[in-house]
């Protein structure tokens, strides 16, 4: 299935070989949010939130074809 993925902020460096922070990615059916983060090579401890189609998603959520996935870094303060 095909996903659109965007890595935010400093996490964009994990997508340097993919041509930029936003890219499409073919993954196997049954891939969860956490599995995608691992596949991207982003250490989980640097991830604050993963959103799917504009809303915060549980890490064990199964992704579906056409999902738009944003991986957001830790933040502090406000």
């Amino acid at each position: 299935m095909l996903l659109t993925v965007r890595l935010w902020g400093p996490l964009a460096r994990y997508a340097e070989e993919r041509g930029g922070p936003e890219f499409t990615l073919e993954v196997a059916g049954g891939t969860t949010v956490d599995a995608l983060v691992d596949l991207l090579g982003v250490p989980r401890e640097y991830v604050s939130m993963v959103s799917v189609n504009g809303a915060k998603a549980a890490r064990d959520r199964l992704l579906a074809d056409g999902d738009i996935v944003h991986v957001l870094p830790l933040v502090a303060g406000g």
Binding site: W8, G9, L11, P43, K56, H70, A76, G78
Partner: protein, 595 residues
């Protein structure tokens, strides 16, 4: 005492005198600097019931023991006073370079008291203090004021100034540094205005002496390489706070149309990619490797900012999804000397009162033209601006809408919808200065992180611990955006002070400082009944987003608050017990607050 200059500068504006006093070393040991040391001096200096806008109130400028050293992210200045918005103790911090300059001039603390007979600029030039006339600056914006003073005295001065809002005693007037940096909340600018003090200039040519320079250099450089410039903190450099728009929207906690909703259809125009698309430069404070500031030029507007709080509370919360408009509102507030959070909150509240037919302010959500007119009207107290200048709480008392007047203790809400972050509700209710995001920021763990945001389970402990963390961190003071550990703070403090500090000692200091703020407020008549929330949050479910259908049931909020008091060693009505105060070394101060 290494890392301290050992000098307090006491300025009496009435008598036009300035004198140097020795720093109280015991207080410095127990309360450090910044927030904590400011609280300790203010508790001593103010008689209970002092009018915040009278000559009896005092304005304290407080750097800390790490300010002006090589320690990263140590450029913050804390300003402490009694708030004209809330009547509580108030501390505000501002970045830039003023704090370091004040230490280079040789001071750990400046106490400003009295009231000048005419508009005045206080000029501190190392050991010399002068009272300069400011009649030609009165009525002018902070930008022109700062430019003129730098022209007059040289660009190596650092300036704090107020705009017309502070002169006109608007209770959410701020103090501006370096054009776009603010000590924003609770009306510090009005206190300055009440003293006829238009600006403060400082120039210092000295240095700060650490106990072990070699060790401090080593620890600070290691921290910079391994703990600051990392994937944990670099969001501040790559994006800055506009990134939080994306997090809040996805978590369903982006305040929208006066907290009626938690998601905003126009959020993408306010989010980080939109800001980056018009970014022209970055800026950092003294000693900062992160440089979170964004200079942007959307359309005809130009500003350093807007920060997340402005994008949310003065953007989505007013139904404004136009970055150029929010930037223009931001720039106007900065120049006029208005806190964008409270200004945005007052405008949003007036919009809802108008749309509900309760009182017609001629303001509607999304009406950019009227929205952009409001900062000037508020700062000058003209037309409807005179009513908004009272702030949300007083507006509600006069016109109605108390259930959706988004304030606690008289301070307007910042940009986090607590129905989607229940610990944030507790943080708002219990922060010493009212609805504040700087006392504790649990959204990172729950709304943006992995903890369930819709439960009270474990939240009292989370908020308590974060309050101690910030109370201490802001007493060094270090910037909010460096997420360093207690151990790292202990290591930096040990090298600077020349005595071994443990994380446990620092944690106890954080608790001591937080409790001292509570004692100040108790002495002013606040009680546990003031630790409350607007009814909207405990009654009305959010209509959309990741927190759709959520509200905080009142009995659950009460249970969370009760657990919080218990964990703190406070009574059921929110007073610290004599036993807990004794353990914190605060027994004598407790007695002066009626405990």
């Amino acid at each position: 005492m290494s890392a301290y200059q050992g000098v307090v500068l006491r300025v009496d504006l009435t008598a036009r005198t300035a004198r140097r006093e020795p720093l109280n070393e015991e207080w410095a040991r127990l309360f450090w600097g910044g927030k904590g040391l400011g609280y300790r001096y203010l508790f001593e200096e103010l008689a209970p019931g002092t009018d915040p806008l009278g000559p009896g109130n005092k304005l304290l400028l407080v750097p800390g023991p790490l300010t002006g050293t090589v320690v990263p992210c140590s450029g913050k200045l804390t300003i402490v006073t009694r708030s004209p918005a809330t009547g509580t103790v108030l501390d505000c911090s501002v970045g830039g370079h003023f704090a370091g300059e004040l230490r280079f001039a040789g001071y750990d603390l400046v106490i400003i008291e009295g009231r000048a007979g005419e508009p005045t600029v206080l000029r501190i030039n190392d050991g010399e203090v002068a009272f300069e006339p400011a009649g030609d600056l009165w009525g002018r914006g902070t930008h022109e004021t700062e430019h003129r003073l730098l022209e007059r005295w040289g660009a190596d001065n650092r300036i704090l100034s107020i705009g017309p809002a502070g002169e006109n005693l608007v209770p959410f007037a701020c103090i501006t540094a370096e054009l776009y940096r603010q000590a924003g909340r609770g009306g510090v600018g009005a206190v300055m205005g009440s003293k006829n003090l238009k600006a403060i200039a400082v120039r210092g040519t000295g240095a700060v002496r650490a106990a072990d320079v070699g060790r401090l250099m080593e620890v600070a450089l290691k921290a910079l390489r391994e703990d600051v410039l990392t994937d944990t903190n670099l969001w501040a450099y790559t994006d800055g706070t506009p990134m939080i728009v994306e997090l809040s929207q996805n978590a369903g906690i982006l305040p929208t149309r006066n907290f009626q909703e938690g998601t905003f259809e126009g959020y993408q125009n306010l989010s980080s990619p939109a800001v980056q698309a018009v970014r022209s430069a970055k800026k950092g404070c003294l000693s900062c490797g992160l440089g979170c500031g964004n200079y942007i030029r959307p359309g005809r507007a130009a500003v350093e900012g807007p920060e997340y709080e402005t994008l949310s509370v003065a953007g989505a919360n007013c139904g404004i999804g136009d970055l150029e408009a929010v930037a223009a509102f931001n720039a106007a507030c900065d120049d006029l000397g208005l806190d964008t959070i409270s200004a945005g909150g007052a405008v949003a509240f007036a919009m809802e009162l108008t749309e509900k037919g309760i009182h017609d302010f001629g303001l509607r959500f999304g009406d950019t033209e009227r929205y952009l007119a409001m900062p000037g009207l508020i700062a000058r107290r003209e037309g409807t601006g005179a009513e908004l200048a009272a702030g949300v709480k007083r507006m509600a008392e006069r016109f109605g809408g108390l259930d959706f007047a988004m304030q606690v203790k008289g301070l307007e809400f910042p940009g986090y919808e607590p129905r989607g972050s229940w610990a944030m509700a507790l943080a708002y209710a219990t922060a010493p200065r009212g609805a504040c995001h700087m006392s504790a920021w649990p959204v990172a763990e729950e709304a943006y992180g992995e903890r369930d945001p819709f439960t009270i389970e474990g939240k009292a402990e989370l908020v308590r611990d974060l309050q101690h963390y910030n109370a201490f961190k802001f007493s060094l003071p270090l910037c909010d955006f460096w997420a360093l550990s207690w151990e790292a703070m202990a290591e930096l403090a040990s090298a600077a002070l020349g005595r071994e500090c443990t994380p446990a000692e620092l944690q106890l200091a954080g608790e001591r400082i937080f409790n001292l703020a509570r004692l100040f407020n108790l002495r002013e008549g606040f009680t546990g009944r003031d630790d409350t929330l607007p009814a909207r949050l405990t009654r009305d479910p959010l209509p959309s987003g990741a927190a759709a259908g959520r509200f905080i049931p009142p009995e659950q909020f009460a249970a969370m608050l009760a657990e919080y008091y218990r964990l703190r060693g406070w009574t059921a009505d929110g007073k610290p017990t004599p036993e807990r105060l004794a353990a914190l070394g605060l027994a004598a101060l407790g007695a002066r607050a009626g405990i």
